[in-house]
């Protein structure tokens, strides 16, 4: 039952909000309540999974593999918890930053349906159902991206929508061929039946369809061009939740299918993933180095960081996948926080362009500190969370003797530090240029407090993971053991009855 709550609860509150369509004050309150409730459900689900293993719920009591199963293993549970934390931070942050126009056109219900889609994608154990949740998530994100109707937003939205629809069509075709091969859609059942099929070439072919479809969604090289074209156009709160969560749903799906379903020819498929990972890291960070707009720099860094997570999957050893999962945990929190800080900067200065910024450290030293925590963590400076994440992935690479990818990842880490110091120098350290547009926080003191609350919260989480990394890493390691032992998943889904 607990498995349904992370999906049902945001949907329920979204419907309630739609009943009070014109009352934006009610929207704000219900949105906060819903996000807080999600955290409670997520933590309950997580402790359940952590204590008593993989949880399965057969929807409508239709037994697997005939019905749709909801499955929560440790990876899913971790993702659900982080989603709820990010959802809550964004909900608070948007109180101070989303303008009244957007609120009136249903910003908050959309936010909740987006979270529902994301949670659904993390929890489902059925490959076609995953497609459906992707579409739920996509349509909410389409509207959130275009809401407001500024010229740039619409331009970004067109690129985002077109490429994501293309990826959905490829995903659907892959699902169809997979069904033709195995006659089942349940992921656990697929994992059980596919090794018996004597058509491995076809299976590898389908796995490439899935790699491309999920690759577009998780923005890997060379399929990422929609991301830097669209992520910097919506309001900061929307950018932040997109940056934190959406691409990671793609990464999660890659991790799921390439540890559970497509493991017949890992020499071939996972080597491709590893090569892609290297190019993703490098091209993302080089793109960031050439940009002079805070949000564009951060957008390109999403891409390069996706490379590290995929690298964990491509190396395909227990430590590497644990590193990949730990990287996801660290990255979602840090990246969302950086976008939130970026939003705060533009609230003060009215711009995201580094050339027009400056002198912020003198005005708001605390904001500088709050920027430095996630920024240095992203670059992998010890003892912050990013250091441990990078350290694990690199260690796994060294253990396996994959020196090229390790060299690339270390070099990319250096370049990440370079572009973080670029933002620091340009926005905080150098003197403000004379034509600076604004130098005061526009808004009341309450708004200021609301704005800083989620930033401080996420920064504290980053510091906690950094200084107290052992429990987090333990969980990532257990999740990776579960992933690399697909029989646990298969037995949990197909062997347990509903009662």
């Amino acid at each position: 039952m607990l498995l349904v709550l992370p999906i049902i609860s945001p949907f329920f509150f979204a419907i309630i909000m739609m009943l009070f369509w014109n009352n934006t004050k009610a929207h704000r309150i219900i949105n906060l309540v819903s996000s807080a409730a999600s955290i409670i459900f997520a933590v309950m689900l997580f402790s359940n999974v952590n204590n008593s293993g993989i949880q399965v719920f057969q929807v409508g009591s239709w037994q697997a593999p005939f019905g749709i199963s909801l499955v929560a293993d440790l990876l899913s549970a971790i993702m659900i918890v982080i989603t709820s934390v990010i959802g809550f931070s964004t909900a608070v942050y948007s109180l101070a930053t989303i303008d009244h126009e957007r609120e009136k056109f249903g910003f908050y219900p959309l936010l909740q349906t987006l979270l529902m889609g994301i949670n659904g994608a993390f929890l489902t154990g059925d490959i076609f159902n995953l497609y459906v949740w992707f579409e739920v998530m996509l349509i909410s994100s389409f509207v959130l991206l275009a809401l407001g109707g500024r010229k740039k937003q619409l331009e970004g939205a067109i690129k985002y929508v077109t490429l994501n629809l293309l990826s959905s069509a490829l995903f659907l075709a892959g699902v169809g061929i997979l069904y033709g091969l195995a006659g089942t859609l349940n992921m656990a059942d697929l994992a059980r039946k596919l090794p018996l099929i004597d058509n491995p070439e076809m299976l590898t072919l389908v796995s490439m369809l899935f790699l491309i479809a999920f690759g577009i969604k998780s923005a890997v090289f060379p399929l990422y061009f929609w991301l830097p074209a669209s992520y910097h156009t919506p309001p900061a709160a929307v950018s932040a939740i997109f940056a934190g969560l959406l691409t990671k749903v793609g990464v999660y799906s890659l991790m799921r299918v390439f540890t559970l379903i497509f493991i017949n020819d890992t020499d071939f498929t996972h080597t491709i993933i590893l090569v892609i990972a290297g190019f993703t890291m490098l091209s993302g960070v080089l793109g960031a180095a050439s940009q002079m707009d805070i949000r564009k720099i951060l957008s390109f860094h999403i891409i390069s960081q996706i490379g590290y997570m995929i690298m964990g999957l491509g190396l395909y050893s227990p430590l590497a996948i644990a590193g990949g999962i730990f990287y996801i945990i660290h990255h979602i929190i840090v990246k969302t926080n950086l976008f939130l800080v970026g939003g705060a900067i533009s609230k003060i200065r009215g711009t995201y362009q580094l050339k027009k910024l400056g002198g912020l450290y003198k005005l708001y030293p605390i904001l500088g500190l709050l920027f430095l925590i996630p920024a240095l963590s992203l670059a992998g400076i010890p003892p912050l969370s990013g250091f441990w994440a990078k350290f694990t992935v690199v260690k796994a690479g060294l253990d396996l003797g994959e020196f090229t990818i390790v060299a690339v990842s270390l070099f990319v880490g250096l370049l990440t530090l370079f572009s973080m110091t670029k933002i620091w120098n340009e926005a905080f350290w150098k003197d403000a240029p004379s034509e600076t547009i604004g130098n005061k926080f526009s808004g009341s003191n309450t708004q200021k407090a609301i704005l800083f609350l989620p930033i401080v919260l996420l920064a504290l989480i980053t510091i906690t993971i950094g200084f107290y990394m052992e429990p987090f890493f333990d969980i990532a390691q257990q999740a990776s053991e579960q992933l690399l032992n697909p029989n646990l998943y298969i037995d949990a889904v197909l062997g347990v009855s509903n009662e």
Binding site: E135, I139, K152, E155, K159, V161, L165, Q291
Partner: protein, 117 residues
């Protein structure tokens, strides 16, 4: 029957790909719609096509030999409904973008990719 469907699917994929590579908004949408239909027909074809035998289980509890598999059709129905909604949204979005930007040429939508120095 399969051969015809396979050719149709191939043509749909080819024309869909060609259309989304065009620069006009409307042609891109048509291309996306073609690709969606191609995927639907693909599911239909790989789900085995059989003629005239409904997928009912008789009183004795046996399924007729070569009965049609109803699941691919259920999948396609779901995919059609989702595709319909998403395409409707895409059309409105493209129209709004046309009104706001004043162009229907994708090559002119480059302000979000400009490098600010």
């Amino acid at each position: 029957m399969e051969v015809i469907l396979v050719i149709v699917i191939g043509v749909l994929y080819a024309s869909g790909l060609y259309m989304i590579l065009r620069r006009s908004f409307v042609k891109v949408i048509i291309g996306l719609i073609f690709l969606g239909h191609a995927a639907n027909l693909l599911i239909f074809t790989v789900g085995r096509i059989s003629k005239g035998i409904p997928a009912f289980i008789s009183i004795e509890g046996t399924l007729a030999e070569n009965a049609a598999d109803p699941l691919p059709q259920a999948l396609i129905l779901t995919a059609i409904v989702i595709g319909f909604g998403v395409q409707a949204f895409a059309i409105v979005l493209f129209k709004r973008a046309y009104q706001t930007t004043g162009t229907d040429d994708l090559d002119e939508l480059n302000t979000t990719d400009e490098l600010i120095q």
